[in-house]
Symmetry: C2
């Protein structure tokens, strides 16, 4: 019953008109991404998402994954075939290294179409999603032999990957992890321990599963300094790349979860499993962070994706369901009632979600472009500047888009009234699926702390200063443009709040680190509002340009401007509240003893 | 694994110290509620909730209700026995009319302990909850014969009740309902039609089920003017009160829902079932509103209840789970890590929920006291004034406490990290259960519209003016009290925002009703913030009095003051944002065509 249509026009508007990716043809892979190639890929991804992935979404939720007594796991009906088609179409390797079979196209493009696929079937897309992270870690930290052994199969998708961090007693605080690695003397290790919450840990969709596992080498220092990363294949891999005997790693049980039932979340038991060190002894966390940063953008995108599909369904329902009359008198007097969409409060709901979704989409793609520049530019200053912003906004993408994505799935569900609560209608699944994105790959409180405690102060605040300058310049450059005033004024106001809050943090976070911790979540959301406001500024500017150029589809651009106005008027006032909260400091939070809670 | 402890001290603080219910001994039933009786009842309810209801909460979620082919429905293991014990202890009739077997104690007390029971097992408590609503409707609108036939059995709980409003094509807009009533000529009617989302529609816990059903008598006017209310018993009831043959009403199916699995949500089919008119021809909506208003307070209480139990678990987890170190250096250097509760962002989460829960509890009990005064006072001016406020705040109790209740269940779940997403830990159930409260008994958008479109302007705004005066006077009366200044200043600021927003609504809502609709949800939450702020003002005042009197448990009152300060500093700044949004009006909401969404 639910519907999904990939927002192709919006994606192309952002890629072509807002960000002008044509201008980046000097970056590796971008020259191949000419406007017609981009459009063809985006269209094809839309078709695949709508026709292959989406019809399996509710099936996946209802059937879930099943574990047999022998520890094998069966994915829901149709998942295996859809995944095969995904791999055969080359989606997994779209932006991967051509040396190992990838197509080397922009990560920006990969991200843009990734939205459609997660909208269509988040649980299914997690299988290749985890593989992407594992590929990134091996690409950066693996030696040549490891790369040629694992990457080609993973990039074609016949082997999948996982990330094994969490243990029952530790998630965020990896310094406490106990999984043990004992050298075999031949360069390999025996890995023993239990990992939990392992997404795609065991399943029936690939010929092999390459686990990346954090463990502690016997005698290594305590804490995070003694953690190493290991490659532990499910099936041993011969020198010729052939798949051999089963390794001593198995799925002990599947977790019963609130959502993403189509993805297998496993307890993984390592019982002297053979593992291979990657990235050097005791350098595991660093290697793992390559996966994490990649994954965090992907999780932010999930928040965005679910909010989009939930919104589309709510908008459809609001257009079709008749109930009550417009406050200004019947709009459809020939019908028994008016459709929900005549009601201002329903429109408030839809406009809120719509305005966040469109800015969120621009934000994710803008960030992905920074990633491409950071990794592919040959101009060092450009690469450094892009890398600064990428690091700075990664926790904002993850934290803000998943917090809002969940809230907006809930708001979309609300449009359905009682029907929203009934599983059959599909809205409950969006809410239940979206919920995990606020938690995994670092709970959002950790994202906020990463932003305030690490990213903000790095290199004497170079990244955030550059961000202030970029947004400030945009406002300044458009100061004389009267048509832009409604947007730039609101952005400037938000930016001022953010700068004041940043100043407060500098002065008070040093004095007492609890002030920084107390401010962190509000600061992350304040940042989110300003960056999303800025995205609306860029989009409004591009839309006005298209209108001035006499573009065909004027209604499309007029709608963008109306949505931008909504965001400025209704959403941006939140920045003042965030700032006010930040400036209250830690005192009221720290006042009570633990027992008083 | 989840825990629950009824907040007895908090309840008694509100009843005795904040509201001073002893002062109301002139109201019927209140004289019987001496402080020792109140304390004994509250303690007994706490025990029953903790020991009988709570252990069945997860069981109910996991097992759900089962419908057999003959249409009968089995509730989860243990529900029937617990319900029997509930009835035998007289909980259902605590505040009911003594003429029909009730104990006639204050509704205020009934509400106070109702919180514990919904915290402990919301799904189970819905069975007697619906019965309460049906009792209220029969009490107010039934004739003497109907009252003596149905009320005694319902008040003792051997018969339960339901509300049958919704049909597949209409929920909010009851004017469209199609269920038909044809006179039999003997005063009874044949009722035919289908009702959906009928909570407790069929189950195995009572000897009979008394359905209250909205239907349209043949030839009645169209729309809401032609709706009548009928009593339709599951089993026919003889003149002597004996239970006879089965009536033609049956459960066609159970809905598969996101939560409240322990409650049976039924599609009910009426196939020429025998029904009896209650409250006069075409006067059904008015009669139904008696149930609705009662039920709306009950649903607001559910929001409060789930937030409370979710909070308690999150606080426990935060005290026990060790992960990471305090930002200011290790607090427990002898342990591997510090407990979560040292982290400011975890405390922000807990303080937010705690400060809302304690104010929400006061708000619900304060409202219930208004209900008692409205219904039991012999001083007409007092009854009218209380009734004004009761009507005004009912949508605020329902809308705000359920919106926040859900948000706070989600925040509590977040404290658990990945474990929060796993069903075993119980946090997912709180989120899934809390979600329905925002929807049923009038979705929260409808509550907001009821507030802004109906309640605010009634009698030329008499009720809201009285509310302004009450809160304004409180601030004024405490102006010279320096210790109260941190509280009264923030309350006054919130009140000013609310008054300005109300003025804006008066001026602009008349001009264009869409301005009222566009403002409604923000106005409801603005109201909520001011009334909860006021509750904190009353609580702070009472706590300071207790401290000045040298009360034993100083820490309890100091904690109240610290929590009040948090609410004033961190929460109250939201009023300015709500006001700013309201004052943007409807323009940006109504700008787009339906197709542009």
């Amino acid at each position: 019953m639910p519907v999904f249509k990939a927002p192709v026009d919006d994606t192309l508007f952002i890629l072509n008109d807002v960000l002008g990716i044509e201008r980046y043809s000097n970056l590796a892979g971008f020259a191949d991404a000419s406007p017609d190639v981009v459009e063809a890929i985006v269209q094809e991804a839309a078709k695949f998402s709508e026709e292959v992935l989406f019809p399996l979404n509710q099936v996946g939720d209802q059937q879930g994954c099943k574990r047999a007594d022998d520890g094998s796991v069966t994915t829901p009906e149709g998942f295996k075939a859809a995944y095969k088609q995904y791999c055969e179409s080359g989606w997994l390797g779209l932006a991967a290294d051509p040396e190992y079979g990838g197509q080397g196209l922009p990560y920006t493009l990969h991200t843009a179409i990734g939205e459609y696929m997660s909208s269509a079937n988040m649980a299914l897309m997690m299988y290749p999603g985890l593989t992407q992270g594992a590929i990134a870690a091996i690409q950066v930290h693996g030696d040549d032999a490891q790369k040629s052994k694992y990457l080609p199969k993973m990039i074609e998708g016949t082997w999948t990957g996982t990330m094994n961090l969490t243990e029952p007693h530790c998630g965020t605080d990896l310094g406490m992890l106990r999984t043990k690695a004992v050298p075999n003397g031949d360069g390999s290790y025996r890995i023993s321990g239990q990992k939990i919450f392992i997404s795609a840990g065991e399943h029936d969709m690939s010929d092999n599963i390459i686990h990346l596992v954090l463990a502690r080498i016997e005698g290594a220092p305590e804490g995070t300094k003694g953690i190493s990363l290991f490659i532990v294949p499910k099936f041993m891999v011969g020198e010729d790349g052939s798949v051999g005997k089963r390794n001593a790693v198995s799925c002990g049980s599947l977790e019963e979860k609130m959502g993403i039932h189509g993805n297998s979340t496993c307890v993984m038991n390592y019982d002297e499993a053979t593992g291979y060190l990657i990235g050097g002894e005791n350098a595991g966390l660093k290697a793992m962070f390559v996966m994490m940063n990649e994954a965090r953008l992907g999780v932010g995108l999930q928040g965005q994706s679910i909010a989009e599909v939930a919104y589309q369904n709510a908008a459809d329902y609001a257009r079709e369901r008749i109930q009550g009359r417009a406050l200004t008198g019947p709009k459809y007097p020939d019908k028994k009632a008016d459709p929900l969409i005549v009601h201002p409060d329903i429109r408030r709901t839809l406009m809120t979600i719509k305005s966040f979704n469109e800015a969120g989409r621009a934000f994710v793609i803008w960030t992905a472009l920074k990633s491409d520049i950071a990794h592919r530019s040959e101009v060092e200053a450009d690469a450094t500047a892009a890398s600064d912003i990428l690091g700075l906004v990664t926790p904002v993408v993850k934290g803000v888009l998943t917090d809002r994505g969940f809230d907006h799935a809930v708001m979309a569900q609300q449009v359905y009234g009682g029907h929203g609560y009934i599983e059959e209608w599909g809205m409950s699944q969006y809410v239940r699926d979206a919920r995990i994105a606020m938690i995994y790959e670092g709970a959002n409180g950790i994202q906020a702390l990463d932003l305030v405690g690490r990213k903000l102060g790095m290199n004497n605040g170079r990244a955030v200063m550059a961000f202030f300058k970029e947004v400030g310049d945009f406002c300044e450059d458009n100061r004389s443009d009267e048509k832009m005033a409604p947007y730039t004024k609101a952005i400037k106001k938000g930016l001022n709040d953010m700068q004041a809050a940043s100043m407060w943090l500098m002065q008070n976070g040093m004095k007492d680190p609890n002030n920084a911790g107390a401010a962190s979540t509000d600061y992350m959301h304040l940042f989110g509002l300003v960056v999303l406001g800025y995205m609306w500024g860029l989009m409004a500017k591009a839309a006005q340009q298209k209108l001035a150029d006499g573009a065909d589809n004027a209604a499309f651009y007029e709608t963008k401007l109306a949505t931008a106005r909504f965001f400025m008027e209704r959403v941006m006032p939140e920045t003042a509240m965030r700032k006010a909260r930040i400036e209250t400091g830690a005192e009221t939070l720290m006042a009570l003893d633990a027992e008083a809670f």
